[in-house]
């Protein structure tokens, strides 16, 4: 299964992911119309600043997700095949158990409506809107295998370059 991975060193803090996420979860799916929609479209990805570093945070869709476990109404559920954790708007009562248990703090709410809002990994899109919007390649949509392979290749290239320059010196 593909997941959203984050390459921390690349984030510029532009919040394009947040903006694209809100627009993708609007009724019109167009920025210029979305700004007038009520209830206001809500982002599901958050760029935080910690220890001098910009950190995009998005639902990890954890295995055995705690937010699903604590949900009293069955609004929060995990697809057994894709592993995607999603929330049923009709069943959510806004008790915020999920928000309290989520270790990443990525469960938000509508400004005007008392229901939980979280990443659904953009069911209608091949690539989630946040990943598509990221101008620096901070967000990567890949399987875990693909992602670590990419990381390994980058690390290998770094090591190889280091070795070459040592050999020259």
């Amino acid at each position: 299964m593909k997941e959203v991975f984050v390459r921390l060193d690349r984030c510029m803090g532009c919040k394009s992911c947040e903006m694209a996420c809100a627009v993708e979860h609007s009724v019109s799916k167009s920025l210029f119309n979305a700004v007038c929609e009520r209830p206001s479209p809500v982002r599901r990805v958050y760029v935080e600043m910690a220890e001098g570093q910009k950190v995009p945070l998005v639902c990890r869709h954890c295995e055995d997700a705690p937010c699903v476990a604590v949900c009293r109404t069955g609004a929060m559920s995990q697809d057994p095949i894709t592993g995607i954790v999603d929330r049923d708007e009709e069943r959510c009562v806004g008790c915020w158990m999920c928000a309290m248990i989520c270790p990443y703090g990525v469960i938000g709410r509508h400004k005007e409506v008392r229901i939980a809002v979280k990443c659904d990994r953009c069911r209608d899109l091949d690539v989630p809107a946040c990943v598509r919007a990221c101008p620096t390649g901070t967000l990567i949509y890949a399987t875990q295998g693909e992602f670590v392979e990419m990381m390994r290749r980058e690390a290998a290239a770094k090591i190889a370059r280091g070795a070459k320059s040592l050999a020259k010196a």
């Binding site: 919040k15 947040e18 210029f32 700004v35 809500v42 400004k111 101008p135």
Partner: protein
């Protein structure tokens, strides 16, 4: 986002070159536009402020995040300040062009620019009378003084109907000096100065009026004096004007100061001889963008294309020299020219480009520099690679050069026949369609469909800039195009032998449209905002277009924009521009990307104006 190359343009010559560029791996603005997607939403909404170093600050348009910048600026303040800075940049660009022309005019008047002469003595005398001065030098001084004036008025603003001037005075937006208003924008938008969005936007209007009725109008008038007031002439447009066996020189940018000299130098027998020695059959100068418009309407010099075709022209492999001055010149040309034998030659002391050969132009030695440039192009002919040569066999005839004087001339010396046609309804109204190209719009699609809709509905179209060139390429600037017009307009055009779309020049020549609008309003005894007229910029992209939009609306003309300006982050500003302005200056903006719907908006406006005038 544009994916398929066929969706990038509706111009057949451009499509042919785009297909070739795609195969050859040549990058164009359309490719770079795709690589920029998605573009920053804060920027698109005008919600990013970089005016001080407590920031950059951004307002969350969805109300979850910050609603104020560090200083407390709200979305309304930030959007208004950003809009104003665009107006300042646009007004500065036009006006500095005007200053350059005025400077040349002064040097010429003092006998220090021997390459230039007075070509339109009648206009010179009219201007002297208008300025109430006795000599050419005094006129030059008086016009130069408009830029640094502190208390106004700028003389040409007095060409506006009395009611309009009175309204500007009442609103405090009658410009005091061309440079002063631009400087005041930069001051007011500095951290912690003007923070009232209405007050800010009024200053934007004032600076833009100093452009349209000041800097731009000075450029137009003095260019006419020095290079001749355009009169109807025939020429050709599109990439097919490039010739396989000639030295091809493209002059691109905005000022006619140098390009006039290049045109003269290229017909010098010595240069033609040199070209023949190099194995070419002659020298072919063609234009691009507004420099193209300037020499097109004064000399019938063919034009290779509009803004988005500059890279495609180089990609033909047929261009010995791409000679540029200022504005709308893509820095991408440097790298691209490096893939061909083309010499990319920059000439303005104000504008240098990576990868360009800089051959700086000065008024005192204009013709000599022009000859050097032409010679460089000629000697580059031997480096042309025939295997890379591909000129689309596509060009269209066009009739150009409708200055206000020429229009009055075509009408038999008075505006009366035009007024009569408007009153009778044969001509429903006048549509001014202008502006750039923008890869956000399929190239020329917005321009041509809007113009065709208007003429079909008996709206006489006046055009400048890249819209004019789109119309030229599509055959809309030919008297025969009257067949595409509604019966009323068709009859008028056939009787006068003119096209239904009148080419009035470059983008500074929108000042000609203002002069025409003022003359028509004066003849009818009304304000410009009462006229059955509307403006549009279907494919606009530049800051100059923002200033143009502001002065056109500030002069009282309802204007439809085809691409969304970065103001939607503030509902208050958007509301003021699209509705509130009507109650203030008698006109407002509309935004409508669909050219057919945009035409409907213009026609509805024209009809309601007609009803108000009892027509």
């Amino acid at each position: 986002m544009v994916k398929d190359v066929q969706d990038r343009s509706i111009d057949p010559a451009s499509l042919e070159m785009l297909a070739l560029a795609g195969k050859a791996g040549i990058e164009t603005a359309w490719d770079r536009f795709e690589r920029q997607q998605p573009q920053c939403g804060f920027g698109e909404l005008g919600l990013c402020c970089r005016n001080c170093n407590m920031g950059p600050c951004r307002i969350d348009p969805f109300g979850e995040g910050p609603s104020k910048g560090v200083c407390g600026a709200t979305a309304d303040i930030i959007v208004a300040r950003n809009l104003l800075r665009s107006i300042a940049a646009g007004a500065a660009a036009h006006s500095d062009h005007g200053r350059g022309v005025a400077h040349t005019f002064r040097l010429m008047s003092e006998g220090r620019a021997p390459s230039y002469q007075v070509k339109d003595k009648a206009k010179l005398e009219r201007l002297m009378k208008e300025y109430n001065v006795e000599s050419q030098i005094a006129l030059a001084e008086a016009i130069m003084a408009e830029f640094g004036k502190q208390e106004g008025p700028i003389q040409f603003t007095r060409r506006a109907p009395a009611k309009r001037i009175e309204l500007w005075r009442k609103l405090g937006i009658d410009p005091r000096g061309i440079d002063r208003e631009i400087v005041e924008i930069m001051h007011r938008t500095h951290m912690g100065v003007d923070n009232d969005y209405v007050h800010l936007i009024l200053q934007g209007l004032r600076a833009s009026l100093a452009d349209g009725w000041g800097g731009s109008m000075i450029a137009t008038e003095l260019q006419d004096v020095m290079f001749g007031t355009p009169s109807p002439t025939f020429s050709e447009a599109n990439l097919g004007v490039l010739e396989p066996n000639k030295i091809n020189i493209i002059i691109h940018g905005h000022e006619p100061l140098l390009s006039e000299m290049i045109v003269a130098a290229a017909s010098d027998p010595e240069m033609v001889e040199l070209a023949k020695k190099q194995g070419a059959v002659g020298i072919n100068v063609s234009g691009m963008c507004c420099t193209g418009n300037e020499v097109l309407m004064r000399h019938g010099v063919p034009v290779a294309g509009n803004f988005l075709q500059q890279e495609l022209a180089v990609a033909t492999g047929a261009v010995e020299a791409m000679v540029v001055d200022i504005q709308c010149i893509m820095p991408a040309l440097g790298t691209l020219a490096g893939c061909f034998h083309t010499k990319f030659i920059s000439t303005s002391p104000k504008a240098k480009f990576p990868g360009a050969k800089h051959m700086e132009f000065h008024e005192e030695t204009a013709l000599e520099t022009a000859k050097e440039i032409v010679k460089t192009a000629i000697l580059n002919y031997q480096n042309r690679n025939p295997s890379k040569l591909h000129i689309p066999d596509i060009k269209t005839k066009c009739m150009v050069g409708f200055s206000v004087e020429a229009i009055v001339g075509a009408l038999g010396g008075t505006l009366d026949p035009l007024l009569g046609a408007i009153k009778s309804g044969a001509i429903r109204g006048i549509g001014a369609v202008v502006g750039c190209n923008n890869p956000k719009v399929q190239h020329d699609f917005g321009h041509l469909n809007l113009v065709k809709e208007l003429i079909k509905n008996n709206v006489l179209v006046v055009t400048t800039g890249c819209n004019a060139l789109a119309c030229a390429k599509a055959g809309l600037l030919l008297p025969e195009a009257a067949d595409l017009a509604g019966d009323g307009l068709k009859g008028v055009c056939k009787a006068l032998g003119v096209p239904p779309v009148l080419h009035m020049g470059s983008c500074v020549d929108i000042s000609r449209i203002l002069v025409a609008a003022a003359a028509i309003a004066n003849a009818l005894g009304v304000d410009i905002s009462d006229l059955p007229a509307a403006g549009a910029a279907p494919e606009w992209m530049s800051e100059k277009a923002v200033s143009i939009g502001a002065y056109v609306v500030g002069s009282g003309v309802f204007t439809v924009l085809g691409t969304v300006p970065p103001v939607l982050g503030s509902q208050a500003v958007a509301e003021l521009l699209t509705a509130g302005a009507k109650g203030v200056v008698g006109a407002s903006f509309a935004v409508e990307p669909d050219p057919f719907k945009a035409a409907s908006l213009m026609i509805e406006h024209i009809d309601s104006q007609r009803r108000k005038l009892g027509l």
